[in-house]
Structure formats: structure tokens, C-alpha cells
């Protein structure tokens, strides 16, 4: 990943990097993400709206939203959109993609939705190699319901349901979605990025582009796990939250390109770990 010290910036810089650009498909509906909190959803929604606009695929995209804070996205991006039940986005996306195989189907999910209640659906979508792409924002907490523990919460993390910190004996260890899915032959692209700096936003952008490319090349299931912040859920200032992301969370969840079958593939053995990000624009060592 890029030099942390040099690139560590306040969330404001992130906002600038992913602000509405010409051709962006934002609807103009006001975001309802916690205002002024630095919540990563806003910048990640902008980023995805920009990417779909830039690729010129509005007419082909069907976006599937989750339940949780992230559900707002279906209101904010000007594409056909379906709101799925909690955790079921990849099953709904499967139904859409199998029905309309030449469309580009994207799910957008948080870590409560995907890593807790929706883990069976995402695992099996990956096992089947569904030609769908998932943008997965992991902020290690249930945001919308008020900051409860998620399977992704760090050991010791204080949440409203782990007031004394997450205890491994009681609640298990943090769950690493990208690493698990990488092992499945059905996945064509797996990456973990973060939104903690301008450079990492650029890497995230490249990773999402690459995930969509994997789908459009009919390679298999693609997912980008994006590490973000939830200052309100974490009870931190935006600046402290960003520091926590850079210093603590990325230590637990290393930013890495795990698998990239765009163009060619390692044969889908599940051994496709291709190493940490080099900060070269997001393609990783094989880019």
C-alpha cells in the first residue's frame, strides 16, 4: 500500500478526490448518511456513480442495494435499482443476472449485511462464480442500528453490544471476507482497498473498474472489500476515525489484491493470491 504517513489525510481530501465529476450519475437526491461525519458511504457512492458514468454503461447496469446505512445508494445513483432484503443482495443479483446475462449487475453491501446475515448468499454466489460484482464497504460495525458489533469488529473494539470491547472467547475473531472468498475457484477478482487517503481512493477506483471488467469479461464473481470509517458508530471525530482506520484496522485487514483473473487467470485454483498493493494505481503486481 502507499506510504501511510505521507498519504494520511483528513477525510476532506477523500471527498475532494471523489466529488461529483462530469458524467457522474448521482441523482442529486441529498445523501442521508450522517451529515458532516465523514462517513465513507458518501464518498464511495460518489466514486461508484462516477465509474458507471465514465464507463458509459448506465443503460446496462442494475444496482442491488442492501439493508443498512448502505441502502441509500439505490436512491443516489441514476441507474435501474432494486432494494434487496437484508443480506440477500447477491441472491437477488443472481436472479437478475441469470435473467439478463448481458447486463452489468452490481451489489453494494455493508459488513453487517454481507458478512453477518448475508454470508451464505455471498459465499454461494462466489462458489457458483456468478457474473456479478460486489462493492463491500467494511467499517467493522452495524451503523444504521446504532453501532453494534459486526463479525468484522476488531478484538477489543467497543460497540453498543460489546461495551467492554469485543472478546474473542465470547464473540470469536474478526472475519476476513476477502481472504475466504479468494480461496473459492468461482471468484475472478478479489481485492481489499481503503478510503483513508487520496491515493487509496484512486486504488479503490481502479479495483472497482477491474471488478466490473471481470464481470464484463464473463470471468466469474468479483468483489472489492473497501475499508471505511463510521465515526458516529465508533464515537470518534472524523479525523480520529481516519487515523484508527489507518493505524489499527488496516493492520487487521491488510490492503491487498488477492486475485485478478481479468484477461487471464491462474486457472481458478483458489491460490490466486498476488500480493499486497504496490500503490501503482491499483493493478497490483500483475497489473
Amino acid at each position: 500500500m502507499p506510504d501511510e504517513k505521507k498519504d494520511r489525510e483528513a477525510p476532506g481530501a477523500v471527498q475532494e478526490a471523489s466529488g461529483k465529476k462530469p458524467g457522474s450519475l448521482l441523482t442529486g437526491v441529498a445523501f442521508t448518511y450522517c451529515p458532516g461525519s465523514g462517513c465513507t458511504h458518501g464518498s464511495l457512492n460518489r466514486l461508484l456513480a462516477g465509474i458507471i458514468g465514465e464507463l458509459g454503461i448506465r443503460s446496462k447496469v442494475i444496482l442491488v442495494g442492501p439493508v443498512g446505512c448502505a441502502e441509500g445508494i439505490v436512491k443516489y445513483i441514476d441507474v435501474d435499482a432494486v432494494e434487496a432484503p437484508h443480506g440477500r443482495a447477491t441472491a437477488v443479483a443472481t436472479g437478475i443476472k441469470r435473467s439478463l446475462p448481458d447486463r452489468v449487475v452490481i451489489t453494494y453491501q455493508g459488513d453487517g449485511d454481507l458478512a453477518a446475515i448475508g454470508i451464505a448468499e455471498v459465499m454461494h454466489a462466489a462458489i457458483r462464480g456468478e457474473r456479478i460484482s460486489t462493492v463491500f464497504l467494511n467499517n467493522t460495525v452495524f451503523g444504521m442500528t446504532g453501532g453494534q458489533m459486526a463479525p468484522t469488529s476488531l478484538i477489543g473494539q467497543r460497540t453498543t453490544t460489546t461495551p467492554f470491547g469485543r472478546d474473542a472467547q465470547l464473540s470469536g475473531m474478526p472475519f476476513h471476507v476477502a481472504e475466504i472468498l479468494t480461496r473459492l475457484p468461482g471468484t475472478a477478482y478479489v481485492a481489499r482497498t481503503a478510503m483513508n487517503s487520496t491515493a487509496n481512493v484512486a486504488v479503490t477506483r481502479e479495483a472497482i473498474l477491474r471488478a466490473l471488467e471481470a464481470q464484463m469479461q464473463d470471468r466469474g464473481f468479483s468483489i472489492v472489500e473497501v475499508m471505511g470509517i463510521c465515526p458516529v458508530g465508533w464515537k470518534m471525530t472524523p479525523r480520529d476515525a481516519n487515523t484508527h482506520l489507518s493505524d489499527q484496522i488496516i493492520g487487521e485487514y491488510p490492503l491487498q489484491l488477492f486475485k485478478d483473473c481479468v484477461g487471464s487467470c491462474d486457472g481458478g485454483t483458489g491460490d490466486g493470491q498476488v500480493g499486497p498493493w504496490t500503490g501503482d494505481g491499483g493493478r497490483g503486481p500483475q497489473g
Binding site: S59, V61, D80, R88, V92, T94, S99
Partner: protein, 381 residues
């Protein structure tokens, strides 16, 4: 007319194909796994055929949700425990007003139950199986041939009303082989301008529509609903509340229309001593019970609801007029009695016979139960 000897499961599966449904998502469960086994090869006959064995009923119903949102005729099929797992998805489908077909080949319960045929999911099927107070248009065939016709009709009505429709049957009809014809099926489709197929040269489509309400989108609200809301609350529009209100008012209106226009039933015989009420598999046994009772000097008639939601309440009231007593027969502990009571009023005595452990109730068994109840002047409800 070409006739085929087919099991209920397979005839149902073929009927869905003939109805133009080429999208199946399902999960195996006895006594109806043959539905998906049949479709696993049959749907390969079509370039747009989609057959997918899901990881669970939860996933299967959500795949149906996706395919229905994409504008395709889509369906799944299951039984008791599997249908329970689908209730969340069915609530979302009802809320999103998406047409699809779900078949429940009912087995005994509660819990794991057994695989024998039963009607113990009547309450789940006719009330609101999942959260939110929705209803599903539910058709209950009593023969394999009728199942074929009702399956084709179910797709039409699902699209007409933008609602999930269900075929409510049981393990007996699923496994019973009968001669069946697929000739002269009237397949009617309705346009789906609302489908999320990719916003190609048009404004985006959003499912479910009511979810997308935002303060900045109040101009999209139906003025009549805004006025009604204002009249009820004395307040100005608050978009999310109005949208929630509008969805429920829309659904309620839809269910009233269904009750008026889609209730279906059959009356067999014209005896006035006794009115039998039975649906599905057990109704055809009750046809023979009419003859058995005639042998005992009891002149009876049979009222058979074909739609169990909407329940043919007015028709039943008419059929019960001038008849002294009503006797309900079900393969459960009497789940339909409430609906019958609402239809026939408080005064008329209602007797009941049913068994809950699955399997077919025999003609003599039902006949003796009825004559016994008559002799004792027994009133169940």
C-alpha cells in the same frame, strides 16, 4: 386431445413451462422435489431457460425476486418448512408488488413434520405468512388437470395484480399420477414497463417504488394520496410516511379488487340437509361422501373454494342459504372454519372433521364422522 399420464409435480412443472415461465430457482424438499428435477432438463429446451438449484429456500425466493424484478416470469416450489423460510422474501415480493409464482405442496407440521400430504399451512397461506400484513393470491386445485389450468391462470393474475401468486396443494396431489392435457391453455401476459432491465433510453426504474421516497421527490407523489393523508392527519406531506401509507392503501385496494373479481369456487350437488365445505385434495373425496351420505338418506351439497385467498365468501353465503347445517372437512385441525363462519354468519351450526397426521381421509371415515356428529347434534364452531 392429447393426454399424458403424469404425477402432479411433473404436470405442475410442465404447466409452468407452458405458461411461459422459463425461470426456476429452488431447493429440494419432499414431497415435491420432482418439480425441480423435471425442470432441470425441461428448461434446457429454451434459449432463455434459467434453472438454478439454490443453496437454501431463503436464497431461492430472493433469486425469484431478482428475476421478477428483471421482468421475467419466475417461480419456485417448496413445502412447509421451505415455505416458512421463504416468508421474508414473499413479504418483500408483496411489498415490491412483483409478480411470481410459488407452489406449496403442503406436508404435515409444525416443525419438521412429516412428508405426508396435509393442509396444515392454510392459515399461513391465506393470512400474512411473513411480516407486514400482505396477502397472496392463492389457488387450491383438487385434481392434477385443474392444477395445470390454475398454474397458467396464476401467472396471469400475478401480473394483472402485480402480486406473488401461490398454488396451494399437498403431497398427495404432488405424487398422484393422473391423465392430463396441456391443450387449449390460455396464456395471457401483461406488459412490465416497471421492470429493472437497465435504464436504456428511459428514466431509471426502481424496485420497490415506495422505498425511494425522498423529501426532494415529493413532486412524484400521487396528489390524491397526499390529499387523503392530509385529511387524515391534518398535516402536510412527509414523503416517507406518505409512501408507506400509499403502499398499504394500494395493497388493501388490490386485495378488495381481488375479492370482488377473482374469487373462484364450485358447488357440487343440490341437497339442502347439509352443506359440506372442503378444498383441494380432500374436496374430491368429499364428492364421493355426497353419495355415501345419500345412501344414509342425507341429501347434501359440497362447496369447494378454488381460491382460498380471496376466500369466496359471498358465494359460500349463497350456497349455505336454506341449508340447515354446515360441515367443514380439512386435512388439518380446522383452519378454514373461521373463513366459513364469517361467510355463513353466527347462527348456522358448523360441524368439523379432519385429521392432522397426514394422508387421505377415506370416504366412509368422513361419512361416519358426519352422521355421528349429526346424531349428537354436535357443533364444532
Amino acid at each position: 386431445m392429447t393426454r399424458h399420464l403424469m404425477k402432479g409435480c411433473e404436470a405442475f412443472a410442465e404447466a409452468t413451462v407452458r405458461a411461459g415461465c422459463h425461470c426456476f430457482f429452488g431447493y429440494p424438499i419432499t414431497p415435491q422435489s420432482e418439480v425441480m428435477e423435471y425442470l432441470s432438463w425441461r428448461l434446457r429446451d429454451f434459449p432463455d431457460g434459467v434453472f438454478l438449484q439454490a443453496e437454501s429456500e431463503v436464497a431461492a425466493i430472493n433469486m425469484v425476486y431478482g428475476a421478477a424484478a428483471a421482468g421475467r416470469r419466475a417461480m419456485t416450489s417448496s413445502s412447509g418448512p421451505g415455505i416458512s423460510l421463504m416468508q421474508e422474501g414473499l413479504s418483500y415480493l408483496a411489498g415490491a408488488e412483483l409478480p411470481c409464482l410459488v407452489a406449496n405442496f403442503c406436508r404435515t407440521g409444525p416443525g419438521l413434520g412429516g412428508v405426508e400430504g396435509s393442509q396444515c399451512d392454510y392459515l399461513q397461506a391465506t393470512r400474512s405468512g411473513g411480516h407486514g400484513g400482505y396477502r397472496l393470491l392463492t389457488l387450491a386445485p383438487s385434481t392434477v388437470q385443474e392444477m395445470v389450468h390454475l398454474t397458467v391462470l396464476a401467472f396471469e393474475l400475478a401480473e394483472k395484480y402485480r402480486t406473488p401468486a401461490t398454488i396451494f396443494s399437498d403431497g398427495i396431489l404432488a405424487q398422484l399420477a393422473e391423465p392430463v392435457s396441456f391443450d387449449d391453455l390460455a396464456v395471457v401476459t401483461h406488459p412490465k414497463p416497471w421492470a429493472t432491465t437497465g435504464a436504456d433510453g428511459r428514466a431509471r426504474n426502481r424496485i420497490p417504488r415506495h422505498f425511494f421516497s425522498e423529501a426532494s421527490e415529493t413532486d412524484e407523489l400521487d396528489p390524491e394520496t397526499v390529499a387523503r393523508y392530509r385529511a387524515m392527519t391534518g398535516k402536510g406531506p412527509a414523503a416517507p410516511l406518505i409512501e408507506a401509507e400509499r403502499l398499504n392503501l394500494t395493497l388493501a385496494e388490490k386485495y378488495r379488487r381481488m375479492a370482488k373479481e377473482e374469487a373462484r369456487w364450485e358447488v357440487i350437488g343440490d341437497g339442502t340437509d347439509l352443506l359440506l365445505v372442503a378444498f383441494g385434495t380432500i374436496a374430491r373425496v368429499c364428492e364421493e361422501v355426497l353419495d355415501w351420505l345419500a345412501g344414509e338418506g342425507i341429501r347434501a351439497r359440497l362447496f369447494r373454494p378454488i381460491t382460498i385467498f380471496p376466500f369466496p365468501s359471498e358465494a359460500l353465503a349463497r350456497a349455505a342459504a336454506g341449508v340447515e347445517r354446515v360441515h367443514v372437512v380439512e386435512m388439518n385441525e380446522g383452519q378454514m372454519i373461521d373463513d366459513v363462519r364469517i361467510a355463513v354468519g353466527r347462527e348456522k351450526p358448523i360441524g368439523f372433521y379432519g385429521r392432522t397426521a397426514g394422508g387421505v381421509l377415506r370416504v366412509g371415515e368422513i361419512g361416519r364422522a358426519i352422521t355421528g356428529a349429526l346424531a349428537r347434534r354436535e357443533i364444532h364452531a
